[in-house]
């Protein structure tokens, strides 16, 4: 007897295996998923933009011969001592505590060799990073863990963190297994407790107060240090305008692909805007205030290649910051640890339980044995190499567009592959002279 034909088993798009596994996990544990990293969902990104290159109407520069400058100065508005960087790529704030001491040292070494700055994070300034970072940005965070006037004065710049792209409006939680004696000592907390990083500052609310807070910090540091304000990609036009009002020298704008050490997955994936969507409104705010280039804009969140760097600059940024990519350059999620990732129930490229402190690569851990796996000199050289490649790629694209400084890249050098990217970046859809929302259409 013939078998009755059947349709192939059909999986639900709404209730995918991934969604169902999260439902089962939630049902088993009764707690939301916490993880590190940034948004993993596909969002419009720099990949959706292309450079047009030179042709009849643009004159290219000769690769390997003609100069294409990459230097950037941050903090020219009010600070007596702005920061001079050789390249427009900086290292984003990541805490000692979330990262091991050797990892912080490696970041400092790599950044210094490449001629750029690195940044502290929640938990204060360590000797490893101050000692190995020629230019160090000291984060001023809501928790104020380890905050003190001596470190404030020995920093090269101060970054007031209002928010970050992975969790605009959210704080953090460093789980107890990473609160070792040293981490606890720096944070004035008992060893082994889950340590909460506050979501808002304890002694100011709003831009009017922040203006006075910045006055205080400038008075304490003799008006020498550039003051950055870091915001998550929430309402970039207004956030940037208000940061300028509050007196920022530099604004760091972090889109939703920007990483975190530990936050709820629901926060990472569902709050904030993609980096690509944030840049043009931010630049518009600066232009409306007549402060574009006077207040520098540093963009972060999902920067991976020199093309990403060049596109961010073309849209109006002065520099970019990298976090996740820097960790990957050091050795995070390296396939050589695949068997160990498997033991943790994950795989290379997907490992994101940074908060648990069991990182096989020895980067996002405080475990003394795991930490030994990272040689800060070797990792520092890898980061240097990676930063150099980002810079070379960015220069290559700038020369192809006829620019002798990467800051001369402009929106007119770009087109978009998708309607969404065209709308967000406000550059024409490829093959047209139109983008959604363009005036006059």
């Amino acid at each position: 007897m013939d078998k009755t034909p059947q349709t192939d088993p059909r999986q639900s798009w709404t209730f995918s295996n991934s969604i169902n596994s999260e439902i089962r996990r939630a049902a088993d544990t009764g707690i939301y998923d916490i993880r590190g990293g940034g948004a993993k969902r596909r969002v419009p990104h720099f990949d959706d933009l292309l450079f047009l290159g030179a042709s009849m109407s643009r004159y290219p520069l000769e690769g390997y011969r003609e100069k294409c400058d990459t230097s950037v100065t941050l903090g020219t508005r009010f600070a007596k001592k702005p920061i001079e960087l050789k390249i427009p790529v900086t290292i984003a704030g990541m805490s000692f505590g979330a990262l091991s001491g050797p990892a912080k040292e490696a970041l400092g070494r790599g950044a210094t060799m490449a001629g750029t700055s690195t940044t502290t994070g929640d938990g204060g300034m360590t000797e490893e990073e101050r000692g190995h970072s020629e230019k160090l940005v000291y984060q001023y965070l809501p928790s104020r863990y380890g905050m003190n006037p001596d470190d404030l004065r020995r920093a090269d710049a101060i970054e007031i963190v209002v928010g970050q792209g992975a969790k605009p409006g959210g704080g953090g939680m460093l789980l107890g297994q990473k609160i070792t004696e040293r981490v606890a000592g720096m944070r004035d907390l008992p060893v082994g407790i889950d340590q909460r990083s506050a979501c808002r500052h304890p002694d100011w609310t709003g831009p009017d107060d922040l203006e006075i807070k910045i006055l205080e910090i400038r008075e304490i540091t003799n008006w020498e240090k550039p003051i950055y304000i870091k915001v998550g990609g929430a309402r970039p036009y207004y956030d940037v305008a208000l940061a300028c009002k509050a007196g920022a020298d530099v604004i760091v704008l972090d889109g939703m692909q920007g990483g975190t050490a530990a936050t709820q997955d629901v926060f990472i994936e569902h709050v904030g805007q993609p980096t690509l969507a944030c840049i043009r409104p931010a630049v518009q705010a600066l232009q409306d205030l007549g402060l574009h280039r006077e207040v520098q804009l540093v963009v972060s969140g999902g920067i991976r290649t020199g093309a990403d760097v060049a596109k961010a600059l073309a849209l109006g940024a002065d520099a970019v910051a990298i976090g996740t990519a820097a960790l990957v350059a050091l050795g995070d999620n390296d396939p050589k640890w695949e068997s160990e990732y498997n033991k943790l129930g994950t795989t290379t490229g997907a490992y994101d339980d940074w908060h648990e402190g069991r990182d096989p690569a020895g980067i996002t851990t405080q475990d003394a044995e795991l930490m030994k796996r990272l040689d800060p000199e070797v990792a520092g050289r890898k980061l240097r190499n990676y930063l150099n490649v980002l810079t070379l790629e960015c220069q290559t694209l700038a020369r192809a567009c006829g620019h002798n400084h990467v800051h001369n890249l402009e929106p007119e050098d770009l087109c978009a592959l998708t309607m969404e990217a065209a709308a967000m970046a406000q550059v024409p859809l490829a093959g047209t002279n139109w983008y959604p929302g363009k005036p006059g259409f």
Binding site: M147, G176, R187, P190, P202, I212, K213, L215, I220
Partner: protein, 228 residues
Amino acid sequence: MTTTLDMTATELREVNTTLQAAAKAQANEAFEITNPRGSHAMACGLDGPLSVTIKGSTGYYCAGMNKEATVTVEGSAGPGVAENMMSGVVTIEGDASQYAGATGHGGLLNIKGNASSRCGISMKGIDIVVHGNIGHMSAFMAQKGNLVVLGDAGDALGDSLYEARLFVRGNVKSLGADCIEKEMRPEHIEILKELLEKAGADAKPEEFKRYGSARKLYNFNIDHADEY
């Protein structure tokens, strides 16, 4: 000899530069600042033994990040007085606004009047003595140090408290999450006695109640979700 800086004729930058240089010189000089007119960020970032008396009320962040210096405000202080103080003594003869002593790591903040909301928020080792009352959400997420209140405390005292000790003589309107009354043991009486003496407070340690962390929220537990 006391040097007088008159803020009708001297800019804030010059006042602070003068004080910071004197502190750095470790000469234990004395300064008097007249006509402060509520200026912000006065006498902040002092790093050395120095005596500063401000003849009037101050704005935000007076004596911020103080180290070793003795700063006295002969008036009231605006928000964030002695924020992130490391050491030394800051005295407010009048009242203090919000966030007094926020995130302070050490030293003594002595408020002769009342303190507003969030007094001692995220304190990390500072001692704060308030001779009057304190407002709501005081000692929120307070980590270390001692907060002594001779009067009453407002709502949600010590919410999400870590290891700071809270001593209150008057009434507490309500306690915050994970903050409980604790036994006053002899060592606490000793600590309190010393602090009251230092602050020149007319009170007996035995009149106070001690509050501290129940430590139930130290490690996340879904069964405590209602507390948050």
